[in-house]
């Protein structure tokens, strides 16, 4: 396959209608009604490539030059799902080396990071090649370009679940996600990935002791919160761990309380790894901590606890989270009515 770098040197690529090796093809124009909705004023380049592509599909040709044509078309319109589909069938028909195709995809994926087809095509290739290991590094490169890209994260989750028994592939995944969270503690995609790695794909060897896993996850999350308390992603993960493991929220009472009140400048910290305190200078009280403490009280369920939860919700409604005043009022009504 000719690489793009070569053809870019001769400036604009010639139209297919000007290429002698395509002169045997009778093009198929785009048919339209007299009154089209939202017709696109195509560039001559795209129109030309589309005319030839329709002709190729009509004649069912699967040859080397079809790879050229589809690559050209995909670069002009990466959302052209038929071009991708036909390209893949051509690769199969020619027994074309998928390794070469993957190299081309390394370039295109970064260029069209937000196009579904790029990732879909890659899945097809890797399913065939069964070489998941180098993909991890590739994904990391993509995440450096866009650390929250939905497709990139979905692809990593697909890869890990598709090759779920590949221990080499999985070995460093927890370290990887720990680093990703370390790079940006507010990256919700990274938190979500952590939940997938720890809970979403069966029990990994070494993780059989679920109580220990739960402790590890709670400690990790509490430490992260103690660095940046006002981070909803981490609080949601904390809840997620408890919900998934069916543990009571009251396990967090000691930890949560210091985050629900203003910072005391005269506070003396006692080193407590289970309950790391808020950092100096933190913006407190923290809305998510107040919400958590209210939920702890609500879960306890008796009258006194409900009253305490109501007070906390009121402080959120009136003061700390006024955008959600109606939500907190709803929580209060709900708790009082269900008693």
């Amino acid at each position: 396959m000719k690489s793009r770098a070569d053809s870019e040197e001769d400036q604009t690529p010639a139209l297919f209608s000007e290429r002698p090796e395509w002169s045997d093809v009778v093009t198929v124009p785009q048919y339209e009604t007299d009154t089209p909705i939202a017709p696109i004023l195509y560039s001559p380049e795209y129109q030309d490539a589309s005319d030839y592509f329709r002709a190729i599909v009509k004649s069912q040709e699967h040859s080397e030059r079809v790879l050229d044509l589809t690559e050209h078309l995909i670069r002009l319109n990466p959302a052209h799902y038929t071009a991708w589909q036909y390209r893949y069938e051509t690769l199969l028909a020619l027994s074309s080396p998928f390794e070469t195709e993957l190299e081309l995809m390394n370039e295109l994926a970064v260029k069209y990071l937000k196009t579904y087809q790029v990732w879909h095509h890659r899945r097809l290739l890797i399913t065939h090649l069964r070489t998941p290991q180098p993909e991890l590094k590739f994904i990391e490169r993509c995440l450096q370009v866009d650390s929250k890209n939905y497709h990139t994260w979905s692809y990593r989750q697909w890869l890990l679940s598709h090759f779920v028994d590949n221990e080499d592939l999985w070995r460093d995944e927890l370290d990887f996600v720990e680093n990703a969270i370390g790079d940006d503690v507010r990256n919700n995609s990274a938190w979500h990935h952590r939940h997938f790695v720890v809970f979403g794909c069966g029990v990994r060897p070494g993780d059989e002791d679920r109580a220990r896993v739960a402790r590890r996850e709670l400690t990790f999350t509490k430490q992260t919160i103690s660095l940046a308390p006002n981070n909803l992603s981490a609080w949601n993960y904390l809840r997620g761990v408890l919900d998934t493991m069916k543990l009571p929220y009251s396990l967090l009472t000691q930890f949560v309380k210091p985050y629900t009140v203003p910072l005391d400048p005269k506070r003396i910290d006692i080193v407590d790894l289970e309950n790391p305190p808020p950092p100096p200078g933190a913006q407190l009280p923290c809305v998510h901590a107040i919400e958590m403490l209210a939920d702890i009280h609500e879960q306890a369920g008796d009258k006194d606890n409900i009253l305490q939860a109501v007070e906390l919700w009121k402080s959120l409604a009136n003061e700390h989270d006024t955008m959600r005043v109606k939500y907190w009022e709803h929580r209060i009504r709900d708790a009082l009515n269900s008693r």
């Binding site: 007299d34 696109i40 006024t322």
Partner: protein, 447 residues
């Protein structure tokens, strides 16, 4: 017997009075952790100030003109829409529908509407996987009027079929040309073993969006024989995340919607201004999941979500409303994922999901309208956030959000009526009259 009922009623009344009494008491108590009555009154005065803020006019004629320009032609920078033109048609027609521009004096002439209808029907195609609509004639190998069967490369597309049916309903077509049994066959051909649906029968994207389209089509047909509802529901359940939202596929992060590509420098065709090739019908997946569950015929007496699940989803949805201070005002747009900035389309996706769950009373409408007001582009159209270029997708969804959440109290510098929209059906995502028309005429049972 009568006596027992009366006693029961009496007890219930007493309990409810007690509850109200308790409620009134709690409402008066100051917050114990931070006893700061000053701050509380400060807060209520800031709320009052917020109520007094006047909205700028909503640029109805500008947005209508933007939609009509997009209907007439798109610049070459929009080539990426070639494979989803029909969805674009739906959003543009939806804009005109919500603005009431299709039936009043400024309405397009009937010959133009007939032309649009004609183009939409020209996309209905039939073949070995049944009947449905293609995105555009971009891969058609034979003249449209030839009526030959489609090839594997020009098969109908599930998302486009859903948007085509709604677009035709907006134009009040009678659906006499609809191949209903072919459509059922097509739905069957798209469903996979795991319950999910592919965009096209042979190959294609499969995620929650396509499942929603299959459900919406079945609801409009009033015929669910084309889908295996239980397997599809199991697939939805597998997309649920620990946050209480839904991802596009099993294991995926909960989101309001799939992302739009970043705006790139665009080529301007006279007055057409669009953000660079937006992904159409990206479908906020949490909305998509909730709407699908509530569209489906229920097999059991209980609701589609447990009380705990519902509470968790509502929490996730309301947490997506952001609060950005801007002088006296607070802008309250919705974000699509935890910790992301607000984007106008999520005002619909999150708002509509809350509406379906019957928790629409929890949304602050004034900050929402203030956020959307800022997303208006000066030459018409609405963008995802202030300073971006507009597109029909964000324009339509912003208006759909406003029709569910009209700003209250409605104070505007001028033309307060410009903020008023007809009522929306949140399950099918169309104004109620259009949704009713669709159900009546697509099923063919209401005639």
């Amino acid at each position: 017997m009568v006596l027992i009922i009366q006693i029961k009623r009496l007890v219930a009344d007493i309990l409810s009075i007690l509850r109200q009494f308790l409620w009134a008491r709690f409402a008066k108590l100051g917050p114990p952790l931070l006893p700061s009555s000053e701050e509380t009154s400060e807060n209520s005065s800031s709320r009052r100030k917020m109520d007094e803020i006047q909205l700028p006019p909503f640029n109805r004629s500008g947005h209508a003109a933007h939609a009509r320009r997009c209907m007439s032609a798109l610049p070459r920078s929009q080539i990426e829409l070639d494979a989803s033109r029909l969805a674009l048609a739906f959003y543009n027609l939806g804009i005109l529908d919500l603005l009431g521009d299709l039936n009043d004096v400024t309405a397009p002439p009937q010959w133009q509407k007939d032309g649009w209808i004609n183009w939409l029907w020209a996309q209905q195609t039939h073949g070995k996987y049944g009947s449905g609509f293609r995105p555009s004639p971009f891969m058609t190998l034979h003249p449209l009027e030839s009526n030959l069967e489609y090839s594997d490369y020009d098969a109908p597309h599930l998302i486009m079929t859903y948007t085509a049916l709604l677009a035709l309903a907006i134009l009040r077509d009678d659906f006499s040309k609809l191949d209903r049994s072919g459509l059922i066959t097509f739905l069957r051909a798209c469903q996979r073993e795991d319950g999910s649906f592919m965009t096209t029968p042979k190959d294609g994207e499969n995620d929650l969006r396509t499942l929603y389209c299959a459900f919406a089509i079945s609801a409009m047909l009033d015929d669910w024989s084309g889908v295996d509802v239980e397997r599809a529901k199991a697939f939805i359940a597998s997309c649920r995340t620990y946050e209480g939202g839904y991802g596009q596929a099993p294991f995926c992060e909960a989101q309001g919607t799939r992302f739009q590509p970043k705006s790139e420098p665009f080529q301007c065709l006279r007055l057409i201004t669009l953000s660079s090739a937006p992904r159409l019908l990206t479908g906020g997946t949490t909305y998509i999941a909730v709407a699908s569950l509530y569209l489906a015929p229920s097999s059991t007496g209980s609701g589609p979500l447990t009380a705990i699940e519902k509470a968790q989803t509502v929490r996730w949805l309301v947490n997506n409303q952001t609060a950005v201070k801007d002088g006296e005002a607070t802008l309250g747009g919705f974000a699509g994922r935890t910790g992301k900035p607000a984007d106008s389309c999520y005002c619909f996706w999150c708002g509509a999901a809350l509406k379906i769950l019957k928790y629409d009373g929890l949304i602050e409408t004034k900050p929402l309208a203030l956020f959307l007001a800022r997303c208006q582009f000066k030459f018409g159209g609405i963008s995802k956030f202030e300073g971006e270029h507009p597109d029909p997708y964000h324009t339509y969804l912003s208006m759909a959000a406003l029709s569910m959440y009209p700003p209250s109290p409605l104070l505007a510098e001028e033309k307060p009526e410009s903020w008023k929209f007809p009522v929306l059906d949140p399950l099918l995502n169309a104004r109620v009259e259009t949704a009713e028309w669709a159900k009546k005429n697509i099923s063919g049972k209401g005639q």
